[in-house]
């Protein structure tokens, strides 16, 4: 079953044949965590680098809260911490709107990358930056394949398949 993770939401699964998806990511980041040995995946649709308040109603909106919360969610679904691998998708700059929102996509990407580093979770693949939107899907199949699609394009494999065969990061 495909579960769509909307802005500010997160979802996790350990059910084979489930698909977790963030559809139409612009400046937001689809943060994917997988434990391929256990068949567990978690996906958050992160909107902004940091929260202004300590306990907001939707923690997954904010990178600073989403990274630890998503790791916890993956562990609750049976992932083992030292087997977690991350992929980042989105963070585009589609418009030049000026003001404090300038480069929000790049700042989201930087914040999540830094926080994953602090948490000791390696980033195995990323498709970030550029000026086009993206859709990410995590397929809970035998390979825990993560695919990315841009508008009008095909689904491309970002992570998964046989070890060592991952394509290089897809950056627009």
């Amino acid at each position: 079953m495909e579960r769509v993770v909307r802005m500010g939401e997160a979802s996790a699964s350990n059910t084979p044949a489930d698909v977790l998806a963030c559809i139409g990511l612009g400046s937001c980041i689809g943060l994917a965590l997988v434990d391929r040995s256990k068949g567990v995946a978690a996906l958050a649709h992160v909107m902004l680098p940091s929260s202004a308040v300590p306990d907001p109603p939707q923690p997954h909106k904010f990178a600073d809260l989403a990274v630890p919360a998503l790791i916890d969610l993956a562990l609750q679904h049976g992932a083992r911490r030292r087997h977690l691998e991350a992929a980042l998708i989105g963070g585009a700059a589609m418009f030049q709107l000026g003001g404090s929102g300038q480069d929000i996509g790049a700042r989201n990407t930087a914040a999540i990358t830094r926080l994953l580093g602090q948490a000791g979770v390696p980033v195995r693949a990323s498709a970030t930056g550029g000026s086009t939107g993206r859709t990410v899907r995590i397929h809970l199949d035998a390979d825990m394949t993560i695919t990315v699609r841009q508008a009008g394009g095909r689904e491309q494999r970002l992570l998964g398949g046989r070890a060592g065969t991952e394509p290089k990061a897809v950056c627009a």
Binding site: R6, G24, G101, I104
Partner: protein, 194 residues
């Protein structure tokens, strides 16, 4: 949570009605055709729902963004399904996904945005100035979330004033959204004495 009373939403809808009416008339004179405008909707929605209202997030849209600066900050966003963008550009014998097509769509955004904003500015005695339009062709969800978060602020809810414009004798309609900043909405309502 941002709450507006029904009276306030009615007033904002009326502003949108007059603004989009003026904008539609201007587009009509550019095209030499009658342009009909639907009664606008005014809604305060959680961001994720705001996207769902506009369509499926992976649907392709031609999006034209007209940033508005001055006494209030806002964004005017026009959304064309691909077929409608083709019809509109086809009136001039051009394709939408070409430099000429993007330029044409940008000009449509300019005319609609400027006329919408001018009449709004007059009604509420504000100085408002549209910036040059930016044209993209992408997934609806990606366009909307980038615009809604474009100011980099935490927003739970978006005020969306949505009108549809239909070009007579052509299968062409577009969505016309005014997305004011939070502070901007309060200012608008204050000027209206609400």
């Amino acid at each position: 949570m941002t709450a507006f009373t029904d009276l306030q939403l009615d007033a904002l809808r009326e502003l949108a009605n007059i603004g989009s009416g003026n904008a539609g008339t201007a587009l009509g004179s550019m095209l030499g055709k009658t342009v009909d405008i639907s009664v606008p909707t005014a809604a305060v929605l959680p961001l994720a729902d705001a996207i769902a209202v506009a369509g499926r997030p992976d649907e392709l849209r031609h999006g034209i963004v007209v940033p508005v600066v001055g006494d209030m900050e806002a964004i005017v966003l026009l959304l064309f399904p691909d077929a409608d963008a083709r019809t509109l550009c086809g009136i001039y014998g051009i394709e939408p996904s070409t430099p000429d097509g993007r330029s044409m769509l940008g000009e449509v955004g300019n005319i609609l945005g400027t006329n919408y904003i001018n009449v709004l500015a007059q009604m509420v005695s504000m100085t408002l100035e549209p910036r040059p339009p930016q044209v993209v062709e992408d997934m609806l969800g990606a366009i909307l979330e980038s615009v809604l978060l474009g100011r980099g602020e935490d927003v739970d809810h978006a005020l969306i004033l949505d009108s549809s414009l239909m070009v007579e004798d052509e299968q062409c309609s577009l969505s016309f959204l005014l997305l004011p900043d939070h502070g901007g909405v309060r200012q608008l309502l204050e000027r209206l004495g609400l």
